[in-house]
Symmetry: C2
Subunit: 99 residues, 2 copies
C-alpha cells in the first residue's frame, strides 16, 4: 500500500502542481473548456486512465467546468499515486485547452 | 421560454418520477452501476442528449454512482424541459441496470 504523504510533502507537491488545491483529504482542480463536449471527452480519457490504474477520482461536470478530486481511500489520505495522477490529468488537459 | 412549474405541479411530477427528489431549484437523482465504466458510458449518452436539447444537467461521477441534477436557468426554476429530460434519463438508464 502507498504511504500517506505528510503535510510538508503535500505542501511541496502542491507548489509544483498549478491549480491543484488541498481540500481536507483531497486535492482538487477545476478545468475549464470552451465546449461542453470537450469537457466530456476529457472526462472519458480520465475515466480510462482511472480504470487502468484502479484509482478513481471524483468527477463533476458542471457544463463547461470539470472538477477532479483525488484521494487514496486505502491510505486514509493523499499518496504518491494521487500526485502522479494529478500530473497525468494536467498533461491530458493540454490537448483540450481552448477547446 | 418554458414556463416555470408551480410547487403543486412539481409535487405531481415527482410522484411520477421514481428516485427523483426536489433540492431547491433542482431535481436530483442518483444512478448506481455495477461497473465504473458503465456509469461513464451512461454519462456519455446523457451528454449527447444534453447537447441535442441544449439543456445540460450537472453531472457527478463518484466511482459507481452517477448523480444528475436538473434545472432551467432561463426560467429560474423547474420547467417541463427538466421533467422531459428526467424521463429520458430514466429510459437510458434501463440499458445499464445491473451493468
Amino acid at each position: 500500500m502507498a504511504k500517506r504523504l505528510s503535510l510538508t510533502e503535500i505542501d511541496q507537491t502542491l507548489a509544483a502542481l498549478p491549480g491543484w488545491k488541498l481540500d481536507g483529504k483531497f486535492i482538487v482542480k477545476k478545468y475549464r473548456f470552451r465546449e461542453f463536449l470537450s469537457g466530456v471527452a476529457f472526462v472519458n480519457e480520465i475515466a480510462e486512465l482511472s480504470e487502468e490504474k484502479n484509482h478513481h477520482p471524483f468527477i463533476a461536470i458542471d457544463y463547461k467546468l470539470v472538477t477532479l478530486r483525488l484521494t487514496s481511500w486505502n491510505a486514509g489520505g493523499l499518496t504518491d499515486m494521487d500526485v502522479a495522477l494529478a500530473e497525468n490529468y494536467d498533461v491530458l488537459y493540454e490537448k483540450y485547452k481552448g477547446k
